[in-house]
Amino acid sequence: MGVKLYGHPMSSCTVRVMACLYEKGVEFELVPVNMFAGEQKMPDFLAKNPFGKIPVLEDGDLTIFESRAITEYISKKYHAPATDDLLRSDSPEESIAVRVWVEVESHHFQPAMSPIIFQHFVAPLQGKAPDQAIIDDHLAKLAGVLDVYEARLGKTKYLAGDFFSLADLHHFPYMFYLMKTPWAAAVTDRPRVKAWWEGMCGREAFKKVAEGMKFEK
């Protein structure tokens, strides 16, 4: 009984987990959840995640939801000595930095990004016009966050230090979608953020998940 991931290849949170599974070389089965049919709100799925959101991971007897909890679990459970530790547990200084920048993505980057992605990509699929006021408001917030990143990446190659970590990985899905909006200049106008992003795009794990990331029904 292998690892099963319930989700959708275009869903940012599913992508976050898939990227981590690929980085750690963990074999898994992606079980598609039909979001457009509301499958995630049906009793069978709610039994796995009472919040009715994807993704959910099943690994043996463990069922776990919340993408950033899943990536943390995978990083710990499937850390083999030959692969880089995404959590940098052997070094207090490095592991502190990873924890801090994981939270930065969660509490500063995501809240600024998520409404932009929703308004630009998802609202039209629901037959609604994007709300430009919401987009503009969050672009301003995003600018503030990316200014902090630009300064940070002047001191370190990646967010937590001179090493790729879970903190960088968690950014992949929203960054990927941002680059497909009319506001990619938020990244390309900031040379260090741009270099950081382009470096990450070369990773095999990211190339694999990118194939499924298209907003369509």
């Binding site: 939801f65 919340e66 899943i70 459970k77 801090v100 939270e103 509490h107």
Partner: protein, 215 residues
């Protein structure tokens, strides 16, 4: 050199204070006055570039984001004080899951309510009833799920107290204080029992005694 925690009068830093007390780690505190804008001063932004609370200084290390800080100390001091991360990788996975639930589902609506009902009036602002109702409804949906979970499990991650429960203390305390929203907890039998349990821990009582804040 003792751990320094900035901003003890406010809620998010209290997440760190209660964790350090549970782990038996000594610390001192440094006051930061949000109402005077001290969190936006250049010296503070050197420590925390987003201007949020808390910041912790521990020797040469500077840490910010309260949930990063509590995870760090719970791991570093795994062998002393209360076990806050479960005993196995799987239990740790469930602790992380419910910590993320707190951060992603519980925190946004309760933070909005606190900002509008407690902090706003101190700045002369009146809350919009429609927005208040929206946040309260969202919080109720989350608390209904907690009620179901806590009818099967003594604490959120399992039958053991963990960081996931601890993380709820600072902002839930507002609900049962002068905010006048205690009914959100008391209307739900299992959430109510869980709240009484976690809020009566000596660590939380000590935090409230020493840093009563705006509750």
């Amino acid at each position: 050199m003792v751990v320094k925690v900035y901003g003890p009068d406010y809620a998010s830093p209290k997440r760190v204070l209660v964790c350090l007390i549970e782990k038996g780690v000594e610390f001192e505190t440094v006051g930061v006055d949000l109402f005077k804008g001290e969190h936006k001063a250049p010296e503070y932004l050197e420590l925390q570039p987003f201007g949020s609370l808390p910041v912790v200084q521990d020797g040469d290390y500077t840490l910010f984001e309260s949930r990063a800080i509590i995870r760090y100390y719970a791991e570093k001091y795994k062998d002393q004080g209360t076990e806050l991360l479960g005993k196995t990788i799987e239990e740790r996975g469930l602790v992380e899951q419910w910590l993320e639930v707190e951060a992603q589902n519980f925190h946004p609506p309760i933070f909005d309510l606190v900002l509008k009902v407690v902090i706003g009036p101190l700045r002369g602002l009146t809350p919009d009833p429609k927005q208040l109702k929206e946040s309260e409804d969202k919080l109720c949906q989350v608390l209904d799920i907690y009620e179901e979970r806590l009818s099967k499990s003594k604490y959120l991650a399992g039958n053991f107290f963990s960081l996931a429960d601890l993380s709820h203390l600072p902002f839930t305390q507002y609900l049962v204080g002068k905010m006048g929203k205690e009914y959100l907890i008391r209307d739900r039998k299992h959430v109510s029992g869980w709240w009484d349990d976690i809020s009566s821990r000596p660590s939380w009582k000590k935090v409230l005694e020493l840093w009563p804040g705006l509750y």
